[in-house]
Amino acid sequence: MKLSGLPYLLKEGFKNIWTNRMMSLASVIVLISCLIITGTAALISVNVRTLIANIGDDNEITVYLQPDFSDTDSIRLGTELSALSNVENCRFRSREDVLKSYQDTLGENIYASMQGEGNPFGNEYKLRLRDLSQYEDTVQQIKALSGIDKVSDRSDIADKLTRLNYFVTIVGVWVVLILGVVTLFIIANTIKMTMYARRFEISIMKSVGATNAFVRIPFMVEAMAIGLFAGLMSSAVLIALYEPIRHAAAGVIGMIRTATLPVDAVWFPTLLAMTGAGLLIGLLGGSVSITRYLHKEGGAILGT
């Protein structure tokens, strides 16, 4: 195909959109709706993951050592705890510090009587884990070490966060996949209808020696322009509504304000992903329709 024909083909592609404006408009509206739902699912998924990561960062577990465990043994135990693969960080808290934290609650007299040998508390370690989903295994490893009295039970939170993360990921992936296929089907159908409307023109093109590539280009331009426009519009809607929705959600769960991503961090990836998805859907949907058409009905010139 000669490049001199390209401006004509591009013009034809854009003319198609206007000629089939009602069909194009319907496709754009449906595509925008699908892309907004897909984008919303993706943004929720990203934010829940961020939220989980933030909660996880604050999620320390406490390892209580036996009260009669000596300071020297406690320091040795600290080295063993740090060596565990899932332990990211290990902070020592002496029995004196633990007692001191109860000073106000106990009152001066009782507090004074508990000093020295009377201190009922043991030393403690505050641990931060790398992966919350391995909480149970790590606790078992800690309990197997000598000198451990008990380990604070945070398994409930760990379990819930892990489940939520899994749920959000699975739902997000399915929403993106299903709506991706739906949008692909919609654009493929629009292009199919456009081609049927122009089958007469296509048969003339083929009769005078137009290559399949030449026949394809205007339809590809149309499909990609519809996809791109829908992508731009849906990203504009998502970006415009992002902050108001985030603020509204923060009114219900306070930590959303600080533990989720601000609009500054999401607008560009959203724009890029939505327009990219629109273009890709246009490209794939258009090319599936055109290839199928040209292989079947598109070859007829003289008719029956």
Partner: protein, 242 residues
């Protein structure tokens, strides 16, 4: 040059459209193809433009073997031929100029070349003054002339006209036939499929009769050129072919 040898075409529904057909059409010949409906005339044209592929035999058109031709080469074969349809096949939303230019645009010609050549061809078919009209503003004869202009705009070596006078009145039919003869006289091979025996008698030339997928007659009638001259090539068997 068209060369068909022992060509057979059977459609998936079992119809034997062409049976063991052998035919040679040298370059520059004018050929009428006649025969009843369903005789295999359209299938023969489809084989020539490679819309269909024969099941057996040899099909060669303009030096190309159509039996072994890859799909991607078909557009380049079609650029060596022009097709005139019974129903004109003009694009209603385009002007006469654009309908003719369309054949050049889809084959990648530059706009400057298109702007030079289209007016020349429109003048040749007598439609210079109607370049800006839309097809529905023209008579049937004029629409067929636009279709003819589109078929010859890329200077094809072979012109195929499928019932070119089927949708127009007798007077306009003669006009179209004269134009086809003029194009033939400039060296183009012309194949006309028609049901109108009167036109065949009036213009003459080689006449092929097809029945049940076979050539049942191949005769040459005296040619009457549009300028009134008569060719020396004559045959007494003409009427029996029709």
């Amino acid at each position: 040059m068209i060369h068909l040898e022992n060509v057979t075409k059977v459609y998936p529904n079992g119809t034997h459209a062409v049976r063991n057909l052998t035919l040679d059409i040298p370059d520059g010949e004018f050929v009428f193809i006649v025969g009843p409906s369903g005789a295999g005339k359209s299938t023969l044209l489809k084989l020539l433009i490679r819309e269909e592929v024969a099941d057996n035999g040899i099909v060669e058109v303009n030096g190309k073997n159509l039996m072994t031709m890859p799909r991607r080469q078909v557009p380049y074969l079609r650029r060596t031929m022009g097709i005139v349809f019974q129903d004109f096949r003009l694009i209603d939303k385009m002007t006469v100029f654009d309908n003719v230019a369309f054949a050049m645009r889809v084959t990648g010609h530059a706009e400057s070349t298109i702007r030079k050549r289209v007016p020349l061809v429109l003048r040749m078919v007598g439609l210079s003054d109607k370049a800006k009209r839309k097809p529905h503003e023209l008579s049937g004869g004029e629409q067929q002339r636009v279709s003819l202009a589109r078929a010859i705009i890329n200077r094809p070596a072979l012109l195929i006209a499928d019932e070119p006078t089927g949708n127009i009145d007798p007077e306009r039919s003669v006009e179209i036939m004269k134009m086809l003869f003029n194009i033939h006289q400039k060296g183009t091979t012309v194949i006309v499929v028609t049901h109108e025996h009167e036109l065949v008698r009036q213009f003459g030339g080689r006449v092929l009769r097809i029945e049940e997928g076979k050539i049942t007659a191949d005769v040459v009638l005296p040619m009457h050129f549009p300028n009134g001259k008569k060719s020396a090539d004559t045959s007494a068997k003409g009427d029996s072919a029709l």
